[in-house]
Symmetry: C2
Subunit: 145 residues, 2 copies
Amino acid sequence: MSTTTDNHAALSEQLKARDVRPTPQREVVLKVILEKRDHPTADEIFARVKASMPTISLATVYNCLDALVQGGLVRSVNFERGPTRYCPNLHPHAHFHDEATGSTHDIDLPEGLLTQVKTILPAGYDASSVEIIFRGKAAPAHGTN
Amino acid sequence: MSTTTDNHAALSEQLKARDVRPTPQREVVLKVILEKRDHPTADEIFARVKASMPTISLATVYNCLDALVQGGLVRSVNFERGPTRYCPNLHPHAHFHDEATGSTHDIDLPEGLLTQVKTILPAGYDASSVEIIFRGKAAPAHGTN
DNA sequence: GCCTGGAATTAGAATTATTCTAATTCTCAC
DNA sequence: GTGAGAATTAGAATAATTCTAATTCCAGGC
């Protein structure tokens, strides 16, 4: 009961550190995302948050998620036509979308890979972010999803 | 009046070559995508196709697009929460999404880049496709969008 | 040349994800 | 404690896509 993710004060600090005004809703949303890192959708997050805060509304979940993404506390990912998914991994990483199970795995990027990939851009292009998405089959029995 | 993209027979051939059964609707949809390579959405394609085939339905446009994507004749791209966009560029390429204008530019990939990027995958991961999306500012006055 | 079956097309309804609106409540600075 | 601005809420609205059921098309066998 005392990891950095399970108490009000710590969550509040994380938000403030990123200039996201702390509110109970934002804290719970963030907590839920940190707790189960399975790239949940807004709906899934809504369901999980309702467990501890039954009065929250879906619109608020969307608002909180936008605030968290803006503050850089979580990342959002999109796969094809599916709903947006959220991810608390702040290290530079790519996503691997397992076509068989539909699950998503984080792939850590080696130092410098993003910089290197950016060098393929012609002059005049200035990328503020790069996203790499793999699609395919992943061997079973790994932790992340 | 005689590029490879403007006549029935050539389009029909392209479809057959990829095992996509040729139909008038599929041919027109493909033609439209080849003609104006601005990464249109299904709605935009629908509007353009209606010019020459007023009876086509939006559902058919979606069906045709799916068939073309399956056959590998066009690629689909998704940016954040926006609608799916379609692209006839079959060379390996990344996408650059200009945040200022909302336009999309193809970025040719140097030989071997994709293979190299795939090497960051841990053992057990087998990627059938890799997608690279840049987001940022592009210098004005370029052809593609 | 006609018939038949499977695929494609159509219009419109249905679904899903997300955003908007307007009213209420909260939070922080004073 | 108070007030101004921000956040939350419920529900309606919108946007993109998919589904459904009926119709049409077309290729191959006769």
